[in-house]
């Protein structure tokens, strides 16, 4: 019996849609983008292409929110999606990443037990002990990999990460660089976008998001009915 993957990545599940969009997208693409921003929007909102390919609707909420989010991915700041649980923040982040980068595998799950290494870089201790700090001994985080390849990295549940650990992202977001003092080199962020999501309501045990970090972010709220918003305010 053939084994089946329970949940394939968005770019695998919707590979035919992305492929059709790539083929029929003649608009200029920003550097490192697989699709033009207009085509990314079509991928999200759904529609029918010239050759008859049907693009399914990924997001039923406000089109404007999507436009603002896509524009944010091209801006100097990172995208922060906010909203109460269940408003499709993760879903939107995953599909935007799949459409823009064609690869949504760079993902960090924010937890209260996360360490700075997982946001910046760590070391392969065997190699570190044997040869000292070197490129080979370095274990890059998804953030660093995204910076190297110009892809989008997703960070889930930003506000579950302790504030002190969140601070590791400040240099990346404000200076667009990830210094590695041990190697006397740094990675430059070139128009790479980080899309993060956080819960809007602070539940017991959740962390604050520092103002300093917020300065590196542009946040858009995922659509939810107005009465919910009021209730949770």
């Amino acid at each position: 019996m053939a084994l089946e993957i329970i949940r394939p990545f968005a770019e695998e599940q919707y590979a035919n849609e992305i492929q059709a969009l790539i083929q029929q997208d003649h608009l200029p693409k920003p550097r490192n983008w697989k699709l033009s921003p207009a085509a990314v929007l079509v991928y999200m909102t759904g529609g029918k292409l010239a050759d008859g390919t049907v693009i399914s609707t990924k997001y039923y909420g406000s089109r404007r929110t999507l436009e603002l989010a896509i524009a944010t991915l091209l801006s100097d700041r990172a995208l922060l999606l906010t909203g109460i649980p269940g408003t499709a923040k993760t879903w939107v982040a995953e599909h935007l990443t799949a459409a823009v980068s064609g690869d949504s595998s760079l993902l960090i799950q924010g937890t209260t037990g996360i360490s700075e290494d997982q946001l910046r870089y760590g070391w392969n201790y065997a190699a570190l002990l044997a040869g000292g700090p070197s490129e080979q001994a370095l274990v890059p985080s998804p953030v660093m990999r995204a910076m190297e390849s110009g892809q989008i990295v997703r960070l889930e549940e930003l506000t579950r990460i302790p504030t002190e650990i969140q601070d590791a992202l400040i240099t990346v977001l404000s200076e667009k660089t990830l210094p590695i003092p041990e190697l006397n080199r740094r990675y430059m962020l070139y128009r790479v976008s980080i899309s993060l999501r956080r819960r809007m309501i602070r539940t017991k045990g959740s962390m604050r998001c520092r103002r300093r970090l917020k300065e590196g972010l542009i946040s858009w709220s995922c659509h939810c009915p107005l009465r919910w918003k009021k209730k949770y305010r």
Partner: protein, 139 residues
């Protein structure tokens, strides 16, 4: 360090940086009209100072960081948005979501300050009609 002393100085700073950022992006972004730039900086200064530029009317000031850096980022984002999704036309509709966002960053209820400002100040300014309307719809 102090914030820019005059409106002209602040406009100049924002103008220079926004132009620089466009060069880095290598995408031809829509022009920002001098008037739009002045309007955004005016709004920032008035909300920061808690009074109108001429000093005649008091308003509720905002605790948000309405700095030149914020204005630069808002305009840059607004231009990208207009380029791709508004036929390269920059209007108040693209600029104002960023302003609301900046206020929301410090407190979910902070945009109420902007709403009050819109109804008491901008409504009376005949040359700010588009900003008044756009804000009214967005808030």
């Amino acid at each position: 360090m102090p914030l820019p002393a005059t409106l002209e100085e602040e406009v100049q700073i924002v103008q220079n940086r926004v132009t620089e950022m466009e060069r880095m992006l290598e995408i031809p972004l829509p022009e920002i009209k001098a008037r739009q730039m002045e309007q955004l900086v005016t709004l920032f200064r008035e909300l920061r100072d808690g009074k109108t530029l001429d000093g005649k009317q008091k308003i509720r000031s905002s605790k948000a960081h309405l700095s030149p850096a914020e204005a630069i980022s808002i305009l840059h984002h607004a231009r990208i948005h207009s380029h791709y999704f508004n036929k390269n036309q920059l209007s108040a509709d693209q600029i104002l979501p960023g302003v609301i966002n900046a206020l929301r960053h410090i407190d979910e209820d902070e945009p109420a300050v902007l709403q009050e400002y819109n109804e008491t100040i901008l409504k009376k300014r005949s040359d700010w009609k588009d900003w008044y309307q756009a804000l009214k719809e967005l808030l």
